[in-house]
Symmetry: D2
Subunit: 368 residues, 4 copies
């Protein structure tokens, strides 16, 4: 099939770079449109990103080095590119403040350009799905309501959740689906510096150090899973009641890969450690059934060694798209303990966004 | 007063080095006897420790560079030194296996040499106190029973707890004393590499990485606080029933300083965040009243900034003898959350051992 | 063509793991025989390497997890495997002491099994070539003399140089070939911890630290290039006279990738900075002409940014097989300065060994 | 004696913090005036520095937490403070651009307030001494000419050199003084992140990485030693001709402590390794003779272990005021090789500035 032309907003930032890198050789999508801040606009992509290239997936694709970066604020430019067949939808990796991001993403959608966003601006709009394709692919059903609410025809917005939560949301959903509902969760995360973008975390703050605080992160980690586990009712997503989550988020001197230590209390039936392992090892979901190109073969990779998962050694499991779990053991206070790991700039950012777009193609929302 | 001559067993290891460094200029104690493995015996201390010196307190004291290291297995040598006024008691920083350490420490005690130990070998003997002088100074009352049980006259053994637990045991005790009993605790630790000794953790395991496992550490972190909070009954220490603790222990790329993130559920009365802060800021205990030379002025240092404590920036608070707490806030699952930090090779090892010895001097057990 | 069955000696070590990883999917070679220390012998490869897997190329290949590891000291076992079509030659990543390695590699060669070695034991034997296929592919001409000298028929030994020298030996050779002879070189290296194997460098020695010393490394860095640049005369390699090299070798907290800062003085003609850049950018050699599967398209990758090469960002250039050079500028004391980088466990170890084997196949020495 | 009241310009920056920390308890000086950018002006020092405190010397002095920070651009405020006995001179740790810093420091001097500067703005003015008190204390003799040239009465400016050069300028001077003149030097530095201030180096640029470039640093490292080794002639400093220096400057993941690897060629007589060691071990200079409070007892600390100096383990030698040298050995290309280390924010910044001020007091230039 002919490739779908796509754009990347925020293409010079950390996540934008990762989009561009991960889309190299993608079977369905081809990057044709790059936009960033006015400071970068008018430069070649190579010039605009010089000294800032940090994508863990490798160097800037040769084919894009000479592409002229557009001004992300200029929605008309994207519309022209779209009309000319250069941009069927955009991946948004904007790093502006929340209100500006919200307004700009809406402007793209209003202009008929679907926005597959990595930003947090729209995560709490009831008519915008926060997608984890293995968990809530049915939430895309709110898209028609979203378009109607906002008077948009072809355009719409979907978002992905904060990078800190993949490592436990998918495993908890797998247990829920098997009949074991987590009621209370206490989680401590140890998050990589790439999660803060570039320049992001100062080296003086993380060499021989950790920072036990990331602004806004604990709230997102506690609340977003409830929307993802929620239900679509009357054109809106109603959030779930469980689990209640307490999150403590730390920044650690790791380049990529967020690790989480969890204690889980179940309501009702409580699974044995062996049941939990069996459920996770066997877990497959819609992206695997549909054969989405970026879908990991195993969404959950179970490690049995006593000292895994570890971010540097496990983050690239399934090309960075799997959640890696280990240290599955009973909890003396709650019921179950485990450690989860996910690659924050792949599964937790650009890779997750691409998987969302693949799902939307198969569901017909990005029928280009 | 004339200084008390002391010995250090395991003087070439990480903790032994820290003892020697922290005792430089100590007002009561003077290191006169150094013992280590047979491999080091017969060498000068400078020769024996070359290429292994990692003490965070600074270089090897000049006065000890030329001291000939004895064989730690040769208790007779220590006895001769003691008889000659060169060793009134020993700090044990032995790094042998548990059974060998237990036997050797007992041999010193049997030979009339009190052992102030950093090792874990005797931590679960009911007649051996696990001392945190701010918490359970009254546990030394089991020493006469210990001597009677084992047929020792002058010698005895006291131990200090594992380095992972100071950061929360003292704060939880302060709350308990104020009438607020922690019933359940879920704690995740992020522990420094110096806790594993030298060579200890391989650089390939912690550069750009964390290891979510430390052998035996979670068990110690869950159980030792209960003995420390226990009561002396009939010549033995009976452990407390609360709190029930679930610990997840991680190794992180930090040189010194163990950080812990806690969620605490109280039984009975529940303190407000402001009450907790006030209790911790005001906390003083016996070491402060007695003016022990190594006692921190404030055993608990409360930080109000949103992103503290941090190991590199806060570990040296009160010369490394304080617990630094911060991020005191409600827990959406339990009642209270906070972050605690303590310097693992100072308060958590050699500094803690020295404070124990100071307490024992004041209580008359090391009346030399 | 049918794949050539190969063995890996020292398969559980750092370099052995890298061989196994890089050979996954190799078009010519297939790993069928794994040998390691007696401690590992008899276990499956997965069991033998548990807790020690550090290969930067990814997880252990599934197909090898169940292979039973042989005792590397048991040459007979390898001979049997060879006879049964399971091992046409071996890659040696032995980590024994020099004399033992020398003897064991000779035993394999005497038994008719060619040894493509990563070890240093035979680097100074005049009849053993130290191969860098882009530089001295003609040195394999000593192999017949080597076999005659030692009474071997099919077996022989080739080695690769120390990992610290690729980053400058190839660039200096490219200049030499273009008529510019380096006469004197002063080089400071900043070497990754993976160069020391596992467990290798203690974390306490490199977190927030560098170690300005690596045993034996400066001597190798100064002398090996002279043998590589030497000539085959009468069945032996006679080393070159130039350049005279002074090396200062440092261990830095980097996982993979050795960086070198050089000042070079030329004898005779002196190239301009632009000439140097042009020579390096255009450099191609025999491995590129022969299309060897592991040969980088560009053996020397020239970076023009002011702050490159950097180990984490550039080490994987050309799948880790290129030397990356940058900061090409005049030297106020000598003539030219530049920074070179190579991936020490790929080009500098297993990848270099594989490229050597590919060259030997094409030259008919491994005609299996 | 009554303490001299001093001010710190740029008090909230990395070096300003270090000044404040090192001056705690200083026997001659007392910080009474703090100035920083307009953003900080009007806040208490504690408020202004919150989240930015990185001084390696410990927490903010309690006595200064409540001091109201002045606007550094408001010279009149400093004048008023001076008139009121609150500021006899200022330490300048300004972090503005070069022209702005130059103008502002001149304004202070014109206003009668001597400026002891850490900034580079005036380093190449022939009438401004670049002081290293062990090397060129006689350069202060240009101060009267400087005051005359610029029409200043009481005010003047002295500066200290770039932090990268202490580790070799003092050792090379000690050899020069003993009759051994370095003619050519090739040096590679490995510099700590604190040298770049805060936030300074991004963690994504130095975790598992090094950056082989620091803007402007190589030029300073090559040229400043020549001014320091120069002579005062007719009211100006004339720079020395030797040594010619080639510097390669790298940023490494170390918090504090710049390390340098040197190869040195001598003109005329060449010292043996033993002579070099003896000269360095015996070196004492004017600050030691005068007993300046911040002068290290040994300006050069010689380490004989094969693997020292190391930044984390040696940077605090002599309270961070010594240069630590080691690995003294012949160079196969030049004559001598060694490794030098100095603490960049102590000796290389605030500590060096304080020592300069102490010298100036003894010489009568700060006769307050």
């Amino acid at each position: 099939m002919e490739k779908i032309p796509v754009g990347v907003l925020g293409a010079t930032g950390m996540v934008g770079q990762q989009y561009v890198t991960l889309l190299r050789g993608h079977p369905w999508f081809e990057v044709r449109y790059l936009a960033a801040s006015p400071r970068s606009a008018g430069k070649t992509y190579a010039e605009a990103a010089v000294g800032r290239w940090n994508a863990s997936g490798g160097p800037m694709p040769e084919a894009l080095r000479g592409v002229i970066v557009s001004d992300a604020n200029d929605v008309g430019a994207a519309q022209k590119a779209a009309a000319a067949g250069g941009c069927a939808f955009v991946f948004s990796a904007l790093e502006m403040d929340k209100a500006a991001t919200a307004a700009l993403e809406e402007a793209y959608a209003a202009a008929g350009i679907p926005v597959i966003s990595n930003a947090s601006a729209h995560r709490w709009d009831p008519d915008v799905p926060v997608l984890v394709p293995e968990v809530n692919p049915q939430h895309t059903a709110v898209i028609p309501a979203q378009q109607k609410n906002r008077g948009w025809s072809r355009g719409f917005i979907t978002v992905k959740p904060n990078c800190s939560i993949q490592s436990y949301t998918i495993p908890l959903f797998a247990l829920l689906q098997a009949g074991f509902e987590a009621r209370r969760v206490i989680v401590t995360t140890m998050q990589a510096v790439s999660g803060a973008g570039y320049p992001g975390v100062a080296s003086l703050d993380v060499i021989d150090n950790i920072v036990p605080y990331i602004a806004g992160e604990e709230e997102k980690s506690e609340e977003e899973p409830l929307k993802i586990l929620g239900a679509v009712e009357g054109g809106a997503i109603v959030k779930a009641n469980n689990p209640r989550i307490s999150a403590a988020c730390n920044r650690v001197p790791v380049v990529d890969g967020h690790t989480a230590c969890l204690s889980v209390e179940f309501g009702g039936k409580k699974p044995s450690v062996d049941e939990v392992k069996a459920i996770w090892a066997a877990f497959r979901a819609l992206p695997q059934e549909l054969g989405l190109p970026s879908a990991p073969e195993k969404p959950i990779v179970l490690r049995e060694e006593p000292d895994r998962p570890q971010p540097r050694k496990d983050r690239l499991s399934e090309q960075g798209m799997a959640v890696v779990v280990g240290r599955v053991r009973p909890c003396p206070v709650f019921d179950l303990r485990f450690v989860g790991l996910s690659h924050n700039t792949v599964r937790g950012a650009a890779g997750g966004g691409i998987l969302n777009a693949e799902l939307l193609v198969k569901q017909g929302y990005l029928g280009c």
